[in-house]
Amino acid sequence: MTRADHPPTPARPVQPVLEVSGLSLRLRTPGGAVPVVKDVSFQVNPGQILGVVGESGSGKSLTALSVMRMLPAAVTVDSGAVRYLGQDLLTMPEREITALRGDRIGMVFQDPMAYLNPLLTVGAQIREVLRLHGMGRKAAAARAVELLDLVGVRDPGKRAEDYPHQFSGGMRQRVVIAMAVANNPTLLIADEPTTALDVTVQAGILELLGRLRAELGTALLLITHDIGVVEDVCDSIMVMYAGRAVEQGAAETVLGDPRHPYTRELMRSTPRLDVPVLRRLPAIPGQPPDVTRRPGGCPFHPRCPLAFDRCREEMPPEQDTGAGHRAACWLSIEPLPAPAVSTAQVREVRHDDERAPILDVADARITYGRPSPLRRKPPRIIVDGVSLKAYPGRTLGLVGESGSGKSTLARTIVGLVPLLSGRISIDGMQWTDRDRRAELRRTVQMVFQDPYQSLNPRQTIETLLTEPLTVHQLVPRAGRARRVAELMSLVGLPQSLLERYPYQLSGGQRQRVGIARALAVEPRLIVADEPVSALDVSVQAQIINLLADLRDELGLSYVVIAHDLSVVRHLCEDVAVMQGGVIVEQGPAERVFADPQHEYTRALLAASPGSREQVVS
């Protein structure tokens, strides 16, 4: 099956499976009701995959939930219609829509463990869906096994009697999909179905969804924040921003000739594997607006490089550019003017391995817990004999999937987890050397994945940044305020945020605070554990650029842990690929990405969204 077999705009009109027109949703807040989704219209044709792309607060999930009439209590439908095969879902009696859910319309959510009942076998849960919609006991049992086979669970007859916890994350998501398609639905709604999964697992799930469409003719509404995922599997795309559908149309058209600046900037700011590495990513400034504080006019105007006066005053209507491609920008009638190329310098990489490494890990073995005569089982080995080096002024990327031991290794490098054997030497110092510990603490710092958890919620930004200066007595009391101000401007934060608490900041701002705090002790090596994966796509590029700028400005070295290969390729000169506690491949980034030697590296690269072959083809 290829995309050509499922033209998004068929020659003769067919009845769309799902038709949403003029949908507007409101959120009740203490300050009154605010619009969260405004005037969104789209349709999904039989056997078609529509990808809805957007960042947090774009309204993409609420749009999907409104189709199932499962909106949170605080959100109400303001106007508009949602039609499933011509029937209005919004006005349908509760009994009828309940009958449709799980039967004609299936749904897949982000976290499969939360969706499955831990006390029932997966077979029993699939049978329940079938029985509730009228199938006999024996037929349901047979069909459940058949479904597990269909979604790619090996040995389905036996696995049906297993409980959810006995499945891996990817396999659990397959079980959830089996439940969703159990009754051969005509429409499947998948809300971030692969976000919680590893890349190689994600590729398998996306392939499965494409295959189900081909085999069962199911139409799919796929909600995601990842433009690469959309590119790989979708026939058509709808891009949402601040509650509006800003652009939609056939996938090739929208991605090949985006007519809304947001779509184009989003694509440009997403690091990719198939374009030359630029010194700086073309980042979209700012962050997606909060629902209660959306700017007037076009909601994207404050961040838009092409905005002019009219954009600030008036929301542009959706303009048809032909062949069902619509975009809500005043400039959409013609192709957008070419972007400024100032950032488009290709990065030069220096490889001067003569310099002494700042980090030298030799044959590191790390376990959970120590071996003890009181325990029968030996402790589990997480990292098994890893050796790597990081050089001053450069970035080492540590790539791997969950369970590969990369985060444990990172925590060992910063001294949070002890080594079982081997040696970690940072600028000649080791954690085992008690006299050097204080100095080591100032030499190596860490940037964490979740910028909310890693900042004490009870401290203001000012306190957060002053504390390291006080504890290490780095700056005399009188100079501390100035140093804090300096740190703020170093990471590009306005001084006005100093009085704030972390929860009052956006994700990107919080991550900047986390970086500033690490910089406070003037480290020379920074270990960053997934520094951008918790951030919105349009904010990721800003943080990647900030890290690169700080490295060049302050001569820092980084060890960056990431699961996203395109991020690593963008930020790192050297790469080490980890699998099952060992490094399977390492070397200069260009070499590893251009000519991967190990099978696992090749699999990772092939599975990376946006880079792989069209999975449906």
Binding site: E55, S56, G57, G59, S61, L62, L65, M68, M70, P72, A74, R101, Q110, D111, A114, Y115, E192, A283, P285, G286, Q287, P289, D290, V291, R293, P295, V414, G415, L416, R441, V444, Q445, F448, Q453, S454, L455, P457, R458, T460, E467, P468, V471, G492, L493, S496, L497, E499, R500, Y501, Y503, Q504, L505, S506, G507, Q509, R510, G514, A520, V521, A534
Partner: protein, 308 residues
């Protein structure tokens, strides 16, 4: 089926507006300071129906125990000619077996109970919380105190009271010590379980990576993040302490004659339950009102803490 949470939080996106040009963005509205938010959360809790009733009950009893001695014609130790008078006349609640005014004794007993609990519970709260958090600084000592708390929790209050009165003469001091021993482990376990919820959070790891001293991490970082639960627990344990005092005095291990406490009055009054019911019932009513008041208050605070 339940709606899935949006990965980055659909409805609770952070509060800021995009700025105009650079990567750096000023969030424009000056939000309220976090400390103020927390205080206003507690105030909001006190404005709920349960919070108001609880607050009023406790305040009324406290005020009454402070003001009434000034208004009453008799002192709590002052003996009159008539014993076991029924309520009425010059003695609103009647008199006890040696002719002392019961109202004056209930008021004095309430005051003593409040004094005892207000000394014992804060001491227990501070000691229990700090010992519960001790494992941040020293894992071995922290574990040791948890086992001590296990033992204390396993011994009934009355047995603890007996043990204390062996060492210290029965009386106010013994009751205070007994209450501390009963209540402290509760705070210790509470602090410990809250601590375990905080330890996996990255801000604790960040503090270690930044080389902050352990004691600072415990007091400046973890303690402020668990103080909400400790405050709720405090209100719960105030009512618990009132009941412990009552229990100890009823079995004769508590406040000794001629001093009056609610528990000791229940004990001596219970002998005259049929001919003079007001004797035992009056202190029981005060105990019940105090316990109900503290419980309502702790529930309201708990709701406020959960709502964050």
């Amino acid at each position: 089926m339940s709606p899935s949470p949006e990965p980055q939080g659909q409805l609770d996106t952070p509060t800021d507006t995009p700025g105009p040009t650079s990567d750096a963005l000023a969030a424009q509205d000056p939000g309220p300071a976090g400390g103020r938010v927390r205080r206003s959360r507690y105030l909001a809790a006190l404005r709920t129906p349960g919070g108001i009733v609880g607050m009023c009950l406790v305040l009324l009893i406290v005020l009454a125990s402070l003001i009434m001695p000034l208004l009453l014609p008799y002192g709590p130790y002052q003996q009159g000619p008539n014993s076991l008078l029924s309520p009425g006349g010059g003695h609103p609640l009647g008199t006890d077996e040696v002719g002392r005014d019961l109202l004056a004794r209930v008021v004095a007993g309430t005051r003593l109970d409040l004094l005892i609990t207000l000394i014992a519970v804060p001491v227990a709260a501070v000691a229990g919380t700090l010992l519960g958090l001790l494992s941040v600084v020293n894992g071995w000592l922290g574990a040791f105190f948890q086992r001590v708390f296990d033992v204390l929790l396993g011994v009934p209050a009355v047995i603890l009271g007996v043990a204390v009165t062996i060492a210290v003469a029965p009386g106010t001091a013994a009751v205070v010590i007994a209450i501390v021993l009963v209540v402290m482990p509760v705070f210790g376990r509470q602090a410990r379980s809250s601590l375990l919820g905080q330890l996996p959070l990255d801000y604790v790891a960040a503090a270690e990576v930044l080389g902050y001293p352990r004691r600072r991490v415990m007091l400046r970082h973890i303690l402020p993040n668990i103080i909400d639960v400790i405050i709720v627990r405090f209100a719960v344990e105030m009512s618990h302490a009132i009941m412990v005092e009552g229990g100890l005095s009823v079995v004769g291990l508590g406040i000794q004659s001629p001093d009056a406490s609610l528990g000791s009055m229940i004990k001596s009054g219970s002998g005259y339950l049929l001919e003079h019911p007001a004797y035992a019932l009056a202190p029981v009513v005060v105990v019940v009102l105090l316990v109900v008041g503290y419980t309502l208050l702790s529930n309201a605070l708990n709701q406020a803490v959960l709502r964050k």
